[in-house]
Symmetry: C2
Subunit: 273 residues, 2 copies
């Protein structure tokens, strides 16, 4: 892997560039973004220089780190640009729509969907960190399992491991169901809690402060996620509502000891990768 083009040099794209450099990548890193973002990204050392998408398509790895709707547009534009041997991957937070678009337009074996399970509430290359992916899962959703073994995909997997992330392979459908439960549900709960418990800010303790941290996330990041994973999110919310109704019933009868103990076990398991 000699050249990497990062399309959309924000928090994730910028962090990927910084992480590659920190892990010892000595090739060229190009960026496709607005002129002001390119300037910031070059100044931070996340990329070497800005290029147009046409030029970016000639890189060994094309890394799409835009919002989901823009990734879909870029995949459309890359159809006539991508050359044999180039691997296009993405970091979009939902995978079904993206993988479908790639299946329709990309040459076989050229595309590998991905989703680094990392982030924070602030955006932009200014917030990028070389360690953002370290110790975090990095989901890959190949169209065919054989796609993981192609030369460019093997090189890319090697770099994911060198930047400290943990590869998890699953179909796009399973990924979207999993993030509906493990990522989109927590976000919606945090927003709903902020709206529900806001009546008494003067007595807020550390618990509610932590639980409403995700509610600070901007809607611009979430619009596309909600739009492309509606069915799974609806099911996650329904499951959560069912659980809360069960808590209400148990509160006035046997108490919640079993639920607390099982929840503590699950919460511990999330902390032991």
């Amino acid at each position: 892997m000699q050249t990497v083009a990062i399309v959309g040099v924000g928090l994730i794209g910028g962090s990927f560039g910084l992480a590659l450099r920190q892990a010892g990548f000595t090739g060229e890193i190009w960026g496709v973004s607005s002129p002001s973002t390119i300037d910031s990204a070059v100044a931070r050392g996340a990329i070497d220089r800005g290029v147009e998408l046409e030029e970016a398509a000639a890189a060994n790895l094309v890394y799409l780190a835009q919002p989901i709707q823009q990734i879909l547009q870029t995949i459309g534009a890359l159809e006539r640009l991508v050359r044999p041997g180039t691997l296009v991957t993405d970091a979009g937070s939902t995978k079904r729509k993206i993988v479908e678009a790639a299946r329709e337009t990309m040459p076989e074996g050229c595309f590998l969907g991905g989703h680094p399970m990392a982030g924070k509430e602030t955006r932009g290359v200014e917030s990028a960190e070389a360690d953002l992916f370290a110790g975090r899962p990095y989901v890959l959703t190949p169209l065919e399992m054989a796609d993981l073994e192609a030369g460019a995909a093997k090189a890319f997997r090697g770099w994911i491991e060198k930047i400290g992330a943990r590869i998890v392979v699953m179909p796009a459908e399973e990924h979207d169901r999993a993030v509906g439960l493990a990522s989109h549900l927590p976000q919606l709960l945090s927003s709903a809690l902020a709206l529900t418990s806001c009546e008494y800010p003067e007595i807020a303790g550390p618990g509610v402060t932590d639980m409403t941290r995700l509610a600070l996330s901007p809607y611009s990041v979430w619009r596309d996620i909600l739009a492309t994973n509606r069915d799974n999110i609806d099911q996650s919310l329904a499951a959560m509502i069912g659980r809360l109704e069960q808590f209400r019933a148990a509160l006035s009868t046997r108490g919640l000891e079993d639920e607390f103990e099982a929840a503590a076990r699950h919460a511990l398991r999330l902390r032991q990768p």
Copy 2:
């Protein structure tokens, strides 16, 4: 205030002793707890020595930092022990039952209910910190507003401020409704989320990890809280369920932009005391 007796020298009681010392209290601090806890508390500097409840009742300030059911028992036992000029206060997480018990048994003006809005997931005097209350709300729920102006109560309020906490005065009924929304609801949401989203621990990101931190809390701390604030908790859960149903409806129609923006404003407000 020359002598303080802390009944129940765990996380909260131990932290109160350490905080008093750090804030310059030079009187004696006694502790009522099991012999092993007394040894640990003396070793940590949270108290000077252990005493029996009979002796503790002679202190200027008697600080009840036990679980709620034990606070209720101690209030009963103090009825025949407490002397004029002594102030009994407590740090229980719900206030109606405790304040009712005190109203029935304590001499007038001798009791002032309290609740420091501070804590963490670990327990015991080993986890105590002199700064636990710093920057945090400290709710006082006087039986009569005049109770705040008595000599011992004024001295106690002065020490709350010296340990860096922010006094908030409200009736016990309002306190219990407020913590139902701002403390008990976040705890139950965290436990319910841990149970609902546990299917995919391999892809857990920082969001769900933060959102399930409270789920690590032991049930032993929560049993009494849930039992003494059932009505308010049920209403909080019902409000949250209503909010989540509203989210489900909006997801498939107009989206959640307004909700995200209002939630972010509320979440910010919780961070600006």
